[in-house]
């Protein structure tokens, strides 16, 4: 059976081998080879996207049930890979300009991506933890990759300590679940719980407490309230392209993992965990909306924005239905695109060779850089959820699912906090279009930036014209998870 297992996990295996090969390449060639390493890394990720989308499909479980490959996983992995590849492509110019070129960071990003793919495909609490830690450890390091910068090291350290705490919680939860259910395999867990329900028993308290701990550990990764506090500090402290990476790929992976657990083995207990998810979701949406208002640093603002977005995505999870899961997937797909575009704009904020991060620096952008202002305006309107931009549809699907599941209060609070959130998104548009220009940003922004900004803004702008592929894909992915 081993060869078949290898086929099933082919993308992960390929990524692991190539990452190690590139590591060797870097070690022997030194920092001077960074552009080459980076290019090859991006190529690797693109090849993987192609492999997952078109290559041989080994659906099913592998490695004695530790690993699962299904359409749901494939869909989420593509999102992760798109996020990673784009973030990586946008990073080179930054590191060159800052004079801190290191070949390790693309390699670390590759390993983090590998960890994320493992998370998405985890079918066992142990596998889950392995993937999660591979990802986290890589991220701790790249958060602090500018080790001569106080803020970067502080960010890395904070992330590491709090991450360790969350890992502890997650492990504690996993051990409780194992203790009360007697297994770590998701499928077996599902069988055990189904038997319990069939026998008329509710879940034992231990399992639910374990689940809450597990949930808390994962909530840290997706920066949901009240496990979000690291996010603004880390986003602000980490190098900007790394923050862009943080905001996209790991969020997808953690959300995908969370959904796989909740909608998989624990779907029997939806009534029990629903209220927890609702609380986390509401708290995230509200805090994301209010706390961002006072931010003056665009990276911190984006941190709170991502907290809010996670809250909205959790609305879909809270519904606990196939429609809800579809909404969640659609939301995360659009979230990735919007965020990549916005972070791309932030990466272009450079005056006389120095990166600037103040919101005020965007004043009058429309006069100096009309196209960039237009792109950023599109992303802001989309994040605020203004039709007909893509962000509106993301919110629409999760709220529809919540209403169908009878979670009216959740939907209403969600809509209200999205109104509050619109304030700070639109304030950026106001600054760009209605205020007197300050110093212009440096040009040219670079070809890869032009491509990313054009591509993402067109996707966001024209999503409503052909929403079919994403909506259908998300529906198929959701159906795959529910069927499994």
């Amino acid at each position: 059976m081993i060869p078949l297992d290898l086929i099933t996990a082919l993308p992960e295996l390929l990524l692991a081998c190539l990452a190690m090969a590139l590591l060797m390449f870097g070690v022997f060639r030194g920092d001077g080879a960074t552009p080459m390493v980076l290019l090859l890394s991006v190529v690797t990720l693109v090849v993987l996207i192609g492999l997952i989308a078109l290559g041989p499909r080994g659906e099913g479980v592998a490695f004695d049930g530790l690993f699962i490959s299904d359409f749901y996983g494939d869909f989420m992995k593509v999102l992760v890979l798109v996020g990673s590849a784009t973030a990586m492509a946008m990073s080179l110019r930054y590191f060159e300009a800052e004079g801190v070129v290191r070949f390790e960071y693309p390699i670390l990003m590759l390993f983090a991506t590998l960890g994320m793919m493992m998370m998405i495909s985890a079918n066992d609490l142990i596998a889950l933890y392995l993937g999660l830690e591979l990802q986290s450890l890589s991220l701790y390091v790249i958060a602090a990759i500018r080790r001569d910068s106080l803020r970067s090291t502080e960010a890395g350290l904070k992330y590491f300590v709090l991450g360790a705490l969350s890992s502890g919680m997650l492990l504690y939860g996993a051990s409780l679940i194992y203790g009360f259910a007697g297994t770590t395999n998701f499928e077996t867990l599902a069988d055990v719980f189904a038997e319990l329900t069939a026998a008329g028993h509710g879940p034992s308290l231990g399992v639910i407490v374990g689940l809450v701990f597990l949930l808390s550990g994962l909530a840290f990764k997706i920066s949901a309230v009240p496990f979000h506090m690291w996010t603004p500090d880390v986003y602000e402290g980490a190098p900007t392209p790394i923050a862009a990476f943080f905001a996209t790929a790991p969020k997808i992976a953690a959300i995908a993992l969370l959904a796989r657990i909740m909608m998989g083995p624990f779907i029997e207990f939806v009534a029990q965990w629903q209220q927890i998810v609702v609380v986390i979701s509401i708290a995230s949406m509200v805090l994301g909306a209010f706390a961002a208002i006072y931010q003056t640093n665009i990276k911190r603002l984006m941190a709170y924005s991502s907290i809010g977005h996670v809250g909205f995505a959790l609305v879909g999870l809270a519904a606990g239905t196939e429609e809800g899961l579809r909404g969640l997937i659609v939301y995360m797909s659009i979230y990735v695109i919007m965020n990549l575009g916005t972070w791309g704009c932030i990466l272009c904020m450079r005056q006389k060779g120095v990166m600037v991060e103040g919101i005020e620096d965007l004043k009058g952008l429309s006069k100096n850089h009309p196209m960039m202002a237009l792109a950023l305006g599109i992303f802001m309107f989309s994040m605020a959820g203004i039709p007909p931009l893509a962000g509106f549809f993301g919110k629409l699907y999760v709220f529809l699912a919540a209403i169908e599941a009878g979670l009216y209060a959740l939907a209403v609070i969600g809509v209200l906090s999205s109104v509050v959130g619109a304030f700070y998104y639109l304030r950026i548009v106001k600054l760009m279009y209605f205020d007197e220009p300050v110093e212009a940003f440096d040009t040219p922004i670079g070809r890869e930036m032009t491509v990313v900004l054009t591509g993402t803004s067109l996707l966001v702008l024209l999503f409503f014209v052909v929403p079919g592929p994403v909506i259908r894909g998300a529906a198929a992915a959701a159906a795959a998870l529910f069927a499994g």
Partner: protein, 643 residues
Amino acid sequence: MLETAVVILPLIGAAIAGLFGRAIGGRGAQVVTCALLGVSALFAMVVFKQVAIDGQTRVTELFTWIDSGAFEFSWAIKLDTLSAVMLLVVTVVSWLIHIYSIGYMSHDKSVPRFFSYLSLFTFFMLVLVTADNFVQLFFGWEGVGLASYLLIGFWYHKPSANAAAIKAFLVNRVGDIGFALGVFGTFALFGAVGFEQVFAAVPGQAEATFTFLGIEGHALTIICILLFIGAMGKSAQIVLHTWLPDAMEGPTPVSALIHAATMVTAGVFLLVRLSPMFEYAPVALELVTYVGAATAFFAATVGLVQNDIKRVIAYSTISQLGYMFFAIGVSAYGAAIFHLMTHAFFKALLFLGAGSVIHAMSDEQDMRKMGGIWRRVPLTYGVMWIGSLALAGVPPFAGFFSKDMILEAAYAAQSSHGALAFWLGIAAAFMTAFYSWRLLFMVFHGRPRATPEVMSRVHESPKVMTLPLIGLAIGAVFAGYLGFEAFVGEGRVEFWGAAILVLEGNDAIEAAHQVPLWVKLLPLGMGAGGIALAWIMYVRMPAIPALLATRLRPLYLFLLNKWYFDELYDWAFVRPAHYLGRGLWKSGDGAVIDGVGPDGVAAVALVLARRASRLQTGYLYHYAFAMMIGVAGLITWYIVSHL
């Protein structure tokens, strides 16, 4: 097809002049609107011959407008004698006034806009008179109100014009509430809004009752009174008349077309159109008589002392509308429409003549600053004489036939309200003659009171203005003689056909032909007396008016201030509404709604935002603590809620 063109052509003209005014320029707009309206007037004549003379009444349905259960009706053009007469009057008078405006408005900066509005008004008026259901009629009704508003405020840079436009709109709103309620009541009672269905059902509902404002009453009476309130607003009857004199702020052709000849007669038209309903509501008819008679008398008294040439004619218009209403009140519908038609000609003539005078006097409207110009403007002088003779009811001019018929019908009605209307009408006739000649003498005779520069520029108006005057003068001379036989004479039953319903025993016109001779002669005598008195006071002994004004100062001021209606309304409605609005704005909206609502929520949001930001201390142990508290809180809450 023909009637569709009559109605639609002015709309096309308005659209071209309004939308492409810049492109085609003032001249283009004039040519387009006048040409289209000319064609429309020509077709209207053909339609008039087909319908009124050959008796081809018909209803042309254009397309369904609303079809919702029993609430079902179409855009339609109803042609019977009544609407054919109105079509003819509206298109012909409107066409003449369009042509006149070419000259009158030649110095204005927004010629295309003016012609667009004027044609738009004509379209709405035609929609109104050809309606075959209440809703289309209401559409036209509101449309002419809109056009009136736009044209009164045409010179929007003048604050007085804006105020007058708003006043006209608001006062009409009061009437329109009545009208709308009347339409609702009709639908509630009959379950239909088409005239034919409603009229057919009226006899069956003659005894039905309604409970309105807690009072049970005769349903048809209530509906008719409500509809009459609408007519009072549009036709400036006493209580709701205050907007019309102010509406003179608009350009003079507007006053002639909208505020004399056509729109203000829409109320008269409405009541005549609804004769099958009013005939079954005698109490409502009685009220119409009282209001009409009171208006005729009241407006004439005010007209005696006004000094603005256009205001004199405006009050005269109100007074004449009063005549038409009390004619309706005594069921002399034919006489009302007859007077409507003759009045359209001679009153438009008077207004345009006045416009010609104003034009000659370098935009002066105060009669005290005129005088002695009759040799310089002979044609204007002549047509003003014709108009005044027609207005005063001197034979053989048009007003003689129609006004005398109304007075005779009022007398012949043999009822107390008819008799009251008759005597008030006689008194008004005397005053009408007086103020008409007062106007003529003050404007054209005596010493010139204008400055020498103004006098040196006095000139006759150009041909484009005088030709329409001649056209209207022909109407003012002959319309009465020509129309008498058909409208109110022996041929009237055949002429009107089914358009007007008069119940057995109500036919005042029939009785009017048998009144004693003194009744027929009295109005004539009154007219002659009024003219003579004016001659004595303003030509023979010009000291008398000033003497009277001092001796009878309270009465003079009472009349000069128009019976203090404006002051009364200002005190009773405008100020309280102003205080209420201000109070609601400052304390209600500003303090309560804004304070708690938008501003309050925004302030709270900012406070929350500041607190939320302050949570972020930057200390690692705070963060870790928040996480531990978070997980503990979630578990506690879960356990507590599932116990």
